[in-house]
C-alpha cells in the first residue's frame, strides 16, 4: 500500500499541500462486504482512490483443482452468492464444452427460466441495497419482500434457497416438482406491478435524481478499455450482452431486448437494471411456454451423467457407472475451454483446463464484479465523497466474487 496511515500526506497530482487520507472500510456498511478503499481527500473532493481487497479470498480456484469436476459445482455457488445458479450454469457450460456434450432442450429451457429468476432476484438485492445506501429505506423492504418469493420458488424447485447447485454437468440435478410453473406464473403476474411501485418511489423522486443523475460518469470508450461489462457498459450505450452476442443455452430462441442508455451515470445504470428486470420477466414467460411438460432433464452420456435411479436398480452397467462417477469422477480430454454467460453483473466467464485426469488442471472465473471494480477510481476521482457511496453501489459488486 502506498498510503500508510491516516495522518500521512502524499504527493498529489494537483500539487495541493494539505490532503487527508481516509480509510473507508473494510467494515463500512455501504461497501457491501469487506472492501477497503483508501481515499485521499482535498476537503470534500476525492483526489485519489485506491481499492484494496482480498479480505474474503478463500482460494476457490485452488480448491477446485483438488476436487473432481462434479464436486467443484458446490464451490461455484459460493463465488457470487447472489447469483449461484448463474455460476453453476457458467461452470457447467465450460465443462460441457470441454467434454463436447449437448444438453436436452427441456433442461436448457429450465436453466434459462431459473437463471432469469436469479437475475431478477439479484437486481432486487442491488436495487434495495443501493437505495438504502442513498437513504431510501422503504425500497429495500419492498425489494426483499419480492426476493423472498423468488427464494421460495428456488427452495421448492431445488431444495435450497441460496446455494442451489441445481445445474449440473449434462443437465439438472433433478426433475422439477409438479406445480412449479404455477408458482412461477403467480410470481410473474405479480412482479410487473411491483416494479412499477419501485419506479414510482424512485424514478421521479427528486432526492434520488439528485443523488444519481450525472454522478459516476464514464465514457463508453473508457468503459470498454477498462474491460467493463454488464449493465454498467450498457448504460454507456454499448449493447454488449452475451445472451445476444454469443447465445448459450438456447437464448437465441427467445425474443427480448437489450436495454441501453447513453448517459452512463448512476441514474442510467438504475434505469438499465430496472428495464432488465422487465426483460427477464419477458424471457421467463416465454420459457414457461417453451418448456415441454415431459422429457429428460439430463443428457444421455454414460460415465459422465449419473444414471436414473430406476436403471441403477435394474441394470448392472448403470450401477457401475454410478459408482465410478461418484468415486473416481470422469476424465475429459486434454484441452482448454472458456464459456461465458451474462450474469446480473456482467460477463461471467469460466476457463477450465484439463490434462486428462478426473480433476481439473485449472479453473478460473472471470468475475465481473472484480473487473468492473477496477473502474471505481475513474468514476470517483475528482468527485465528492458522498458520491463514492453511490458509485460503489452502482457497480453492483459482490465481494465474494471479487475476492473468490
Amino acid at each position: 500500500m502506498t498510503i500508510q496511515s491516516e495522518t500521512s500526506t502524499v504527493e498529489t497530482a494537483t500539487g495541493k499541500a494539505k490532503t487527508m487520507v481516509l480509510n473507508m472500510g473494510p467494515q463500512h456498511p455501504s461497501t457491501h462486504g469487506v472492501l477497503r478503499i483508501l481515499l485521499e481527500l482535498d476537503g470534500e473532493n476525492v483526489v485519489k482512490a485506491i481499492p484494496d481487497m482480498g479480505y474474503l479470498h478463500t482460494g476457490i480456484e485452488k480448491s477446485c483443482e483438488d476436487k473432481t469436476y462434479s464436486q467443484a459445482i458446490t464451490l461455484t455457488d459460493r463465488i457470487d452468492y447472489l447469483n449461484p445458479l448463474g455460476n453453476n450454469l457458467a461452470y457447467c457450460l465450460a465443462v460441457e464444452k470441454l467434454l463436447g456434450i449437448e444438453v436436452p432442450k427441456r433442461a436448457q429451457y429450465i436453466r434459462v427460466l431459473m437463471v432469469e429468476l436469479q437475475r431478477v432476484s439479484s437486481h432486487l438485492v442491488w436495487l434495495g441495497t443501493h437505495a438504502i445506501d442513498l437513504g431510501a429505506m422503504s425500497v429495500f423492504l419492498y425489494c426483499f419482500r419480492e426476493r423472498e418469493e423468488i427464494l421460495k420458488i428456488f427452495e421448492f424447485v431445488t431444495g435450497q434457497r441460496m446455494m442451489t447447485s441445481y445445474i449440473r454437468i449434462g443437465g439438472l440435478a433433478l426433475e422439477p416438482p409438479t406445480g412449479y410453473l404455477q408458482r412461477v406464473e403467480k410470481f410473474v403476474k405479480m412482479m410487473p406491478g411491483r416494479i412499477d411501485e419501485y419506479e414510482e418511489l424512485l424514478t421521479g423522486n427528486r432526492i434520488w435524481i439528485g443523488r444519481t443523475k450525472g454522478v459516476g460518469y464514464i465514457s463508453a470508450d473508457d468503459a470498454i478499455a477498462l474491460s467493463m461489462t454488464g449493465p454498467t457498459l450498457r448504460a454507456a450505450g454499448v449493447p454488449y450482452d452475451n445472451r445476444k452476442v454469443f447465445p448459450y443455452s438456447s437464448y437465441e430462441e427467445f425474443d427480448f431486448d437489450v436495454p441501453t442508455r447513453t448517459d452512463s451515470d448512476c441514474f442510467a445504470r438504475y434505469m438499465v437494471r430496472v428495464a432488465e428486470m422487465r426483460e427477464s420477466l419477458k424471457i421467463i414467460r416465454q420459457a414457461m411456454k417453451k418448456i415441454p411438460p415431459e422429457g429428460p432433464v439430463r443428457t444421455d452420456a454414460p460415465g459422465i451423467v449419473p444414471p436414473e435411479r430406476e436403471k441403477m436398480k435394474t441394470e448392472m452397467e448403470a450401477l457401475i457407472y454410478h459408482f465410478k462417477i461418484f468415486t473416481e469422477g470422469f476424465s475429459p480430454p486434454p484441452g482448454e475451454a472458456f464459456a461465458a454467460v451474462e450474469s446480473p453483473r456482467g460477463e461471467l466467464g469460466v476457463f477450465v483446463a484439463s490434462d486428462g485426469s478426473p480433476k481439473p488442471l485449472r479453473v478460473h472465473f472471470r468475475a465481473p464484479s472484480f473487473i468492473n471494480l477496477q473502474a471505481l477510481p475513474t468514476l470517483i476521482e475528482g468527485k465528492l465523497i458522498a458520491d463514492v457511496i453511490a458509485c460503489i453501489g452502482t457497480i453492483d459488486i459482490v465481494l465474494g466474487e471479487v475476492d473468490r
Binding site: 481487497m53 479470498h57 485452488k62 478499455a225 461489462t229 454469443f246 484441452g335 466467464g349
Partner: protein, 171 residues
C-alpha cells in the same frame, strides 16, 4: 462454418503482417487459441486491437495455467472479444519456469491492470512495464504464489489448532 472463416481472417491478417507473429494455432471445441512468441506479444496484441479488420477492443479475461513439472511451465491466456465483429479469440504465450517474465498489456488494454496483478499474485509471473505490480488478493507479506502446482492446497503455515490455543490461554 462462419466461425472458421472468421478465425482464418485473424490468422491470415496476423501472418500477413509478420510471419513470426504466430507460432501455433490451436482449434478445440470451436475455440481458437493463437500461441504467440513471448517477444512479440505486445505487438500482436496492439495489432489485434488496432487493425481495422480485427478490432478486438475488449480484453475479457487473462489467466494462467501452471503445467508443472512440464516445460514450458506457464501458459498465460488472454481472452479477447471484438464487440463490433462479435468474435472471441484467445492469445496464449508460454513461459518457462526459469524466466516467467512477459510484457504487460496494460498499454494496450488498461483493463489488463488488475488481471495481471492477479496473475502476478497467484502465479508469480512478472509483467514488464506494468504500472503497479503489487499483490492484489493475498496479504502484502505473503510468501509464495498459491496457485502454483508446487504450493500445497493446505498452505505452508503451521497454524496451531484451536485446542492448543485454548489451553495456552488458560495457563
Amino acid at each position: 462454418m462462419s466461425e472458421n472463416s472468421n478465425t482464418n481472417v485473424v490468422v491470415e491478417r496476423l501472418r500477413a503482417w509478420s510471419p513470426n507473429a504466430i507460432s501455433e494455432v490451436i482449434e478445440f471445441r470451436g475455440e481458437t487459441t493463437i500461441v504467440v512468441p513471448r517477444n512479440v506479444l505486445r505487438d500482436v496484441a496492439e495489432r489485434c486491437r488496432g487493425d481495422k479488420e480485427l478490432r478486438f477492443n475488449l480484453l475479457s479475461d487473462a489467466t494462467c495455467v501452471d503445467r508443472y513439472p512440464l516445460e514450458p511451465r506457464f501458459e498465460v491466456n488472454y481472452q479477447l472479444v471484438s464487440i463490433p465483429r462479435s468474435q472471441r479469440l484467445c492469445l496464449q504465450v508460454r513461459l518457462s519456469s526459469g524466466d516467467p517474465v512477459v510484457d504487460s498489456l496494460v498499454p494496450v488494454w488498461p483493463g489488463a491492470n488488475w488481471l495481471e496483478r492477479e496473475i502476478f499474485d497467484l502465479f508469480g509471473i512478472r509483467f514488464n512495464g506494468h504500472p503497479d505490480l503489487r499483490r492484489i488478493l493475498m496479504p502484502d507479506d505473503w510468501e509464495g504464489h498459491p496457485l502454483r502446482k508446487d504450493f500445497p492446497v493446505e498452505g505452508y503455515r503451521d497454524i496451531p489448532s484451536i485446542a492448543t490455543r485454548y489451553t495456552r490461554n488458560r495457563t
